[in-house]
């Protein structure tokens, strides 16, 4: 195993984060704070409890997930798209690294960053609402698992995209809507039966539900379904990445 390579890439990526600290950390925290103010305090005070949880507290897991998903996807996709775009990928391709080492380094760095952002948002949430996390370890586990899965997804996106537009379109047109419709601001049980069933096709529902379960002990679907769905998504992404590196898709002519 080329540990030195993994470390070099990981450190390089974390250094990139430091250079862009404002947009990569401050922005997600600020925007989530705005959600807390608007939905938690202003509108939430008009809404009664959802599933027995105060509305402001109810939306916390969903809001963390919202940032976690968008950050993971955009970080990881940019991290690999950029070297392709400016040509520095030649060095990576000519280096004695196995594909899984490349993936560990890039996805690891992107996931680290989004987990940190997730925790930062959680800390911010304590300013606005009373929180009592029932299963903190499972919560952390979900946070990491989701960050890794979606960083992997972002990595694939960054290899697939051949222009900046595509790079931004997928998060904008796919990830964000799925997250908003995935029960960030409401419980799926509040929907009419048809929409409830349709929602069950949305993988993000399972993520948010599982995450919320770790906070409050209940979710829209069972915790096992959530876990299964997350692991399944992870497995699919891993398979796609393995295929990409085996064939050199979009990396090697």
């Amino acid at each position: 195993m080329n540990i030195y390579a993994i470390r070099a890439i990981y450190k390089f990526e974390m250094a990139r984060t430091q250079r862009t600290l404002l947009q990569s950390v401050v922005y997600p925290v600020l925007s989530t704070s705005l959600y807390f103010v608007i939905f938690g305090s202003a509108i939430g005070s008009q809404i009664n409890e959802v599933d027995g949880i105060a509305y402001a507290a109810f939306i916390v897991p969903g809001l963390i997930m919202l940032s976690l998903l968008t950050q993971s996807v955009s970080n990881a996709s940019f991290a690999i798209y950029f070297p392709r775009f400016n040509g520095t990928i030649y060095e990576l391709l000519s280096a004695p690294v196995a594909y899984y080492e490349v993936v560990i380094a890039y996805v690891g760095a992107a996931a680290t960053k989004s987990v940190l952002i997730g925790l930062l948002i959680l800390a911010t949430a304590y300013f606005f609402v009373d929180l009592n996390i029932q299963h903190p370890l499972i919560m952390l586990g979900f946070l990491i698992l989701t960050a890794v899965s979606f960083s992997l997804f972002g990595f694939i996106l960054g290899i697939w995209a051949d222009n900046f537009e595509k790079l931004q379109l997928v998060p904008l047109l796919v990830v964000t809507p799925l997250t908003f419709l995935g029960g960030t601001f409401y419980s799926i049980s509040m929907l009419p039966p048809f929409w409830q069933n349709l929602s069950l096709l949305n993988p993000v529902v399972y993520l948010i539900s599982g995450f919320r379960w770790s906070f409050y002990g209940e979710g829209d679907v069972s915790i096992l379904a959530s876990l299964g769905m997350t692991l399944g998504f992870l497995a699919i992404c891993l398979a796609v990445v393995a295929w990409i590196f085996r064939t050199g898709y979009r990396l090697k002519p």
């Binding site: 030195y4 390579a5 070297p83 400016n86 520095t88 060095e91 391709l93 000519s94």
Partner: protein, 316 residues
């Protein structure tokens, strides 16, 4: 085929290598080539000949369509870790991470190629390439020539046995070019095998031990530089006459390919060094018979460029 166990494998062993790009374009058509250890090999060819494609396959940037490549006896596909850790690549295009520092990006390369941290070595490489003063600069602040040197530093910092330089002197001034050649010689003295591509024939002529000429994806010729020039070169015999000559006497111009220059003071005879009879002896005695005397005599070998143009034209 059984190779003797104690035989040192060539640094690079390319066998029937072909590449057809996705669009159907055949960039390499069965190239075979061995480069021995410690050799400086120049790959010479016009734009689009397939030089970069060949290098890219050896380094792992392009998938081969057929044939095999071995580096120091290891297959580039099945033993890619072995081969790639031994190979350094300076790409043709200047591609660098804009915001990393010079020191940081060179240190990064060393790690990426699986070598432990060694800031002393990084410093030495940067000093070798006159980049030490710029170590804390961000890469985008460097001039083009400095970027080129930075790419060389990045390619050398993992101590490769084989170094590929894809047009290393494109956009580089005379001084830097000289520095670069000194560096190449130093590397060779350390036993590093060097493969460089170039359009500048003088470079191949000056630097290489052997020259391969590639055109349209085919390796037309591989030869020791000296032998190549000797065997294929036209030579010129230049005679300084001690008397001005208005026209070449017909007795001579009928027999020999002669021309007058310098207002009639220089007589040049072009002959084929490959031929068994150069005609020089005959010419000299015929000159004496024509009562022409000369004060000085010199021979000039044709440059690789002449040879090259010749070869490519023959192929058309």
């Amino acid at each position: 085929m059984q190779e003797p166990a104690n035989q040192v494998p060539p640094a690079i062993q390319i066998d029937s290598l072909s590449k057809t790009f996705a669009g159907g374009f055949e960039a390499l058509k069965g190239v075979s080539l061995d480069v021995s250890k410690g050799e400086i090999f120049a790959l010479l060819g016009p734009n689009g000949a397939g030089k970069t494609t060949l290098i890219s396959i050896v380094c792992g940037l392009v998938n081969p369509s057929g044939g095999t490549v071995k580096v120091e006896g290891f297959d580039i596909l099945s033993d890619y870790r072995e081969t790639r850790s031994r190979v350094g690549l300076v790409p043709q295009e200047l591609t660098t991470d804009a915001f990393a520092t010079v020191f940081g990006t060179v240190r990064f390369s060393r790690g990426l190629f699986g070598k432990p941290h060694d800031d002393v070595y990084v410093e030495q490489v940067l000093r070798d390439l006159s980049l030490w003063e710029k170590r804390d600069s961000e890469v985008h602040m460097l001039s083009g020539g400095m970027k080129r040197r930075l790419l060389i530093a990045k390619a050398m910092v993992h101590e490769p046995d084989v170094l590929f330089l894809d047009e290393p002197t494109a956009g580089v001034d005379v001084e830097l070019r000289r520095d670069m050649w000194n560096l190449v010689r130093r590397l060779r003295d350390r036993g590093v095998t060097i493969v460089l591509t170039t359009h500048y024939i003088e470079e191949a002529e000056e630097m290489a031990d052997r020259v391969g000429v590639i055109n349209n994806g085919e390796l037309i010729l591989v030869q020791e530089k000296n032998a190549l020039m000797q065997r294929l070169g036209e030579k010129r015999l230049v005679l300084k006459l001690n008397e001005r000559l208005d026209t070449i006497p017909p007795t001579l111009s009928e027999k020999y390919e002669l021309s007058l220059s310098d207002g009639g003071e220089t007589l040049t005879y072009v002959y084929d060094a490959r031929g068994e009879h150069t005609g020089i002896t005959g010419l000299l005695s015929d000159l004496r018979d024509a009562n022409l005397h000369f004060t000085d005599l010199d021979t000039e070998q044709s440059s690789l460029e002449d040879i090259f143009v010749n070869l490519v034209e023959q192929q058309r």
